[in-house]
Symmetry: C2
Subunit: 472 residues, 2 copies
């Protein structure tokens, strides 16, 4: 075994020089698993001894192991060391290794033992029976033309139901003719990027913390993404005025993702004021506006000025990402351009799903489901707060009591160590550094805990594992 590993290390020696040491090691380990050189169950050398073999820092190896555990290539259990994971799918017929199609060559990673990554609702709670009822009703009642090429804005039945719901539940000034149905939030954001770029906008400001995918979509549309600073009260929207010519700002105003604050009232007013004064737009990513536990719900920013705020909502958190159902409520001045951008490629969720969602909204099933999930998530959040307080009293659960995730503020400099410990225990969870824009100083250490993600049956063990890896 030692001999094999020495060879393995020697083989990789040249590739492991340079700035991407950890990535190179991860590639090499993945390739060894993929090619069958390392078989399922094989115990890997300790990070200390492999680091010595390879002549790299021990943390480089430990980090690589931890990430590969999170990806499902390796497993790590206290007492049994790091091993090659059993893969969920058999490898298909022999294929050339290191093909130009890296995604293809990736076997489906085995799921982590515990999953608290943010961004997903509890998929086990998808209301299959209520959805099926809505789908059957909708499909039975659908006019024939619903099965044809449709209005690029989406089905009128769904836009009408959304207008009613969003006005009632989120305080959105919505009229069906201003709503555009999208196949997910990112579809809407990409359309907005295209439209803004087409108008000559060069920069869309983003928050200090957020999803790299979203900023990447704007960059892909040819837009710059200057970053707004952040303080203890949230995103410093007042800095927009001194930021230079910015055409729009992408905000998670109701519940900052992932840090969890709500934009305070004076800043809500300020960002809309900036948009009015500058002719810019606020792109309001209202991804989990339905889920607010303690305080009165904050209405959508769009209600302050429907002509300057683009409201983007989604059923991905409230129902399921797999439905690919989202919507935009647009200022009148943007509708034509967005429809033109969308219509040219005629994507939309399937018409039956749109009609089913309209029925689901209209029948009250959506309200019932959201209410049930709110209770369930709230209970989990309370349990999270209590467990952390009991085991690690110095760690604060931050962010407002809302949504599907919380942030655990960690002692400075401990985030990476906690993440490594989590991976070691088979817990998939993310650190705040994974959401920090590249130019933002690393002033916060924390875990982003997606407490909605596991099914009920797995929640308690996930929580117990989380508490176990926290400092104190």
């Amino acid at each position: 075994m030692a001999g094999e590993w020495a060879t393995f290390g020697a083989d990789l020696h040249l590739e492991l020089r340079g700035p991407r040491l950890r990535a190179g090691l991860m590639d090499a380990l993945r390739e060894a698993v993929r090619s069958g050189r390392l078989t399922a169950g094989t115990r890997l050398p300790s990070s200390r001894s492999l680091a010595a073999d390879l002549g790299v820092a021990r943390n480089t190896v430990a980090d690589a192991y931890a990430e590969l555990v999170a990806e499902g290539w390796l497993t790590a259990r206290q007492g049994s060391g790091t091993r090659v994971a059993r893969r969920a799918e058999p490898r298909t017929a022999a294929r050339p290794s290191r093909v130009s199609a890296p995604v293809l060559a990736l076997p489906r990673p085995s799921a982590p033992a515990h999953d608290l990554k943010a961004g997903s609702p509890d998929l086990a709670s998808f209301p299959r029976s209520a959805w099926l009822t809505a789908y059957r009703r909708a499909l039975t009642a659908a006019p024939n033309e619903a099965f044809g090429y449709g209005d690029p804005r989406g089905r009128i039945e769904l836009r009408t139901a959304l207008a009613e719901y969003l006005a009632r539940a989120r305080g959105v000034h919505a009229r069906p003719e201003r709503i555009v149905v999208c196949a997910g939030f990112v579809h809407g954001l990409m359309l907005m990027g295209q439209v803004l770029r087409g108008r000559g906008v060069r920069d869309v400001a983003v928050e200090s913390y957020g999803l790299g995918l979203h900023a990447g979509l704007l960059t892909g549309a040819g837009l710059g993404t200057p970053v707004l600073p952040f303080d203890e009260r949230g995103t410093r929207v007042e800095d927009l005025a001194v930021q230079g010519p910015v055409g729009a700002v992408l905000m998670t105003a109701a519940h900052q993702f992932p840090l969890g604050g709500a934009l305070p009232p004076d800043r809500r007013t300020a960002v809309v004021g900036w948009a009015r004064a500058s002719g810019g737009f606020v792109l309001e990513d209202d991804y989990d506006g339905e889920f607010r536990y303690d305080r009165q719900r904050v209405g959508a920013l769009q209600g302050l000025d429907p002509e300057r705020v683009v409201h983007l909502g989604t059923a991905s958190k409230s129902l399921a990402p797999g439905l690919r159902l989202a919507w935009m409520v647009l200022p009148e001045s943007l509708v034509g351009e967005v429809v033109a951008a969308k219509g040219a490629v005629d994507w939309a969720p399937g018409a039956p799903d749109q009609l089913a969602f309209a029925e689901f909204l209209g029948s009250g099933a959506y309200d019932r489901h959201v209410r049930a999930m709110r209770l369930r998530y709230r209970r989990r959040r309370d349990q999270l707060v209590a467990a952390v307080a009991a085991h690690s009293p110095r760690i604060r659960v931050s962010g407002i009591a809302a949504g599907l995730h919380a942030v655990l503020a960690l002692p400075p400099g401990t985030e990476q160590a906690v993440l490594r410990a989590a991976a070691w225990h088979g817990l998939a969870v993310q650190g705040v550094h994974q959401f920090r824009r590249p130019t933002v100083p690393a002033t916060l250490d924390g875990l982003v805990v997606g407490y909605a993600t596991p099914p009920d049956s797995a929640w308690q063990s996930a929580l117990a594992t989380l508490v176990r890896v926290l400092p104190e």
Copy 2:
């Protein structure tokens, strides 16, 4: 009335100068209807008298009337003249006219009395009950993870079912890992455009006749679209060799759209040979490969060389466009790039629909539906051929006996007149000129008749109306 029209004409006089006379007149008429100046049922002046009022050629007015009838703004019946159509939706609250959102301002046009436009299956025949059965089974059996963010290639269940079906029904060399599920053909074509452009391809050749939307998608991706010449045997693929550096060619090889020929065997071989020799790709738009009536079905071009042909298929013709379900079967060398392009924006049809389609394919329901539709469409095609032969023996129904449309070859120079007559009789149908690439010489006159479009109840009257407007 005469006075009103004189005013109307005078108002528009300045705008109606210039090269876009007909378009300007159409805009003015739409605006008059939209604003309520012309109300439903109002009889318009004859094309002769309005032309005299406006000082334009009579054909300009007649053509504008005809197109507005096809769009549903006006109705035209022999004996009652041209009138403003009753619109299907009430106008919403007053909005500024000529807003920057032209699509928004468009009321839903009332359906034409008879619809033989190509490109749609009979929507009334969507198999609601069988689809619902498949959907219920799929939703009940779905694993929880199906409701999450999924593989950008699409659900494995669907890719497996498609691989089996396409191999059996279309001779496609398909493996699930090479299949990517898309939200419609245009989604796939846009991804291919992005990937080819990303590889440094500058030009993708297109056929002399086709959908402008498709060429426009390629143009939108930054690609040139040189046009391949056409002769009586179809697209002159042998000219690819002398075309200069072309990275790919978009072809409807099994059933040229709209002219209706199948690419002869020597040209099938030639286009694949070109791709092999040049390192280029053939993008095979196999939009209606299932529908072939007389002769043995021609397998997909992809079977000749799966590494050089991208096979693009869709359920839009075989089931319904409203499902937004399509697929690509990719050469191995392209999978990684296509997945990367698609994954970045994670569109796909909803997972339940993908699973339902997998169940629909796997249970044999798809085969049964296609067989039933093939019989029905074949009967309609036979009736079309017989009716044209009886009433207009000099007009040839051309194109192979396949698909959902046929081409009626018209005497040279008569296409526009026949289209005007069709509009006059409330028949929506297209001429071949609407599919001709701008640089292609106008050597063909013909009607593209989508005999699959109307429901059974409307088919006979549509056919009778068609025959009535043909010359002879």
